[in-house]
Symmetry: C2
Subunit: 303 residues, 2 copies
């Protein structure tokens, strides 16, 4: 089974979001698991799975078709950085598939997107063709508005498609990666400079936690700011450690944490680990969970 | 499906524990999910399930047979209060069964235990025949050593079986109840009086949290003490609230929490709730868990 988690640059217009979701769910053999939209980010994250690569490719191309037909980046504003109508589309190996399967799927889908929609495609993470294209933030820097210049530089020639930005749909980033957790923490302040300082202390690249990416985001309609994080390896940098660091850094400015939120879906074990940390459980393993035991075949008692 | 969670008064002798566990797991159609022993408590908790009442009855009678044949309460010492070789045996309704099913099963098994082993049986919780027998601590007060006198009083005439204590196996308590969480918190002190003070502040009956039972327990081999709790309704008195209260009360005595532990099994949602509390998740529901979504039928996308 492979999971696709495209991020689409529309989080406000219900009609457009529904059209894009329907494009995915109308493909048989694909299960749309979750659709999460944010008005301030002006962005929607869709999560769908299938155990058939061809069905995932078909659903993803249908999603691009719907998004490219409905979203015009020239008129798009939102707090989250973006380069395309479909900004980024990662494929994630779940049980029964490998990263190699996802890389192959990303390249096949990327090639087809370029051919069908004339959109420049960049491959990232495990599907990247050059080391400097592994990390999404480096591809995305300059955003849609800066990409007309960026794409002209030889080192930013797209992996597939034309050497010029699609007028309304921009460019797109397709790839393969391990499961990540998108996790936002809301601060009880409207000061974006504090969210920026806290994000900087949290993110790995600037000396914070190794597998954390973090951005400050203004949530205009709530009158507060947010530290928006990607947890790239939740087993090694767990969700509670990221939360605790943000809370600690916020306290240094006299700022409280209002709340946090998961964007998209979260693996069960990541929350169990956070509970075990808070409760200081000394004997925690998934095997003490009733549902895990009920789900497992118990050889011993079924002889 | 019904779950049985008998507590047996042996937590040290591996041979006896294995014999008792085998008696359960040898019954077809019964799945032994978990066996947890504690040396200081000198007690073992077994968890098994079946969707057939007759199989659960058969496994439970086999467990009594093995325990009564191996455990002599006259030579039993342990920190946990107990009245019988099989101290208590609750039946718990899981998906697809009702409390009425469990009450009927408890009464049937109780009658059979009395007839087959000549052990006095008390029915408790939902299976209780009188209000004053609902709560386990009231039945158990006086323990094995005090029961010879207690059983002679008319109000403590057993529900089934003889009016005198079984010489080696004592009495037993059988019943039906909702799922509870057995949760112990270890304190960084050897002072039992502090564990008692903290347990008193935590337990519902003395003014603490409504659905908490709590006992102070000495863990001799670790040189520390423990607050041993039953969380009788984890949706209304969640695990993190019990933990936080114990931590707060311990701090008042300058005592740290070393760790906690789950005895037996815990429902997944109880740990998710603790994670959501610690992380201040504003949008938590089981539907944001990847595995929940994968497990659920997604009507929308499977049309």
């Amino acid at each position: 089974m492979i999971e696709a988690v495209p991020n689409v640059s529309e989080g406000r217009d219900r009609g457009t979001i529904d059209r894009i979701a329907s494009a995915v769910s109308s493909v048989p053999a694909v299960r749309l698991l979750h659709v999460g939209s944010d008005e301030d980010h002006n962005r929607t994250v869709l999560t769908y799975v299938s155990d058939r690569s061809d069905a995932l490719a078909q659903a993803t191309l249908a999603l691009y078709d719907a998004a490219v037909g409905s979203i015009d980046l020239r008129r798009h504003s939102g707090e989250h950085p973006r380069v395309g109508a479909v900004d980024v589309c990662p494929f994630v190996p779940l049980a029964g598939s490998t990263m190699a399967d996802c890389v192959a799927l990303a390249r096949e889908v990327g090639r087809e997107i370029a051919a069908r929609f004339e959109i420049p495609v960049y491959l990232y993470e495990e599907a990247a063709t050059r080391p400097e294209r592994r990390e999404l933030p480096r591809i995305r820097s300059g955003q849609f508005e800066g990409f007309t210049k960026k794409i002209a530089r030889p080192e930013w020639k797209p992996d597939f498609g034309p050497d010029r930005v699609h007028p309304s749909a921009g460019v797109t980033v397709v790839g393969a990666r391990v499961l990540l957790i998108a996790f936002n923490v809301q601060l009880a302040t409207d000061r974006l400079d504090l969210a920026e300082a806290i994000a900087r202390s949290a993110r790995g690249v600037s000396g914070g936690l190794r597998f954390v990416r973090a951005l400050p985001i203004r949530l205009a309609h709530r009158g507060i700011v947010q530290v928006s994080m990607n947890l790239l390896d939740y087993r090694r940098t767990p969700i509670h450690r990221a939360f605790n660091l943000v809370r600690e850094e916020a306290a240094r400015w006299g700022v409280e944490i209002l709340s946090s939120e998961i964007v998209g879906l979260v693996p069960a074990e990541a929350l169990w680990d956070a509970a075990a940390w808070h409760l200081r459980l000394e004997n925690f393993s998934p095997s003490i969970i009733l549902e895990t035991r009920l789900g497992a075949q118990n050889q011993e008692s079924e002889r």
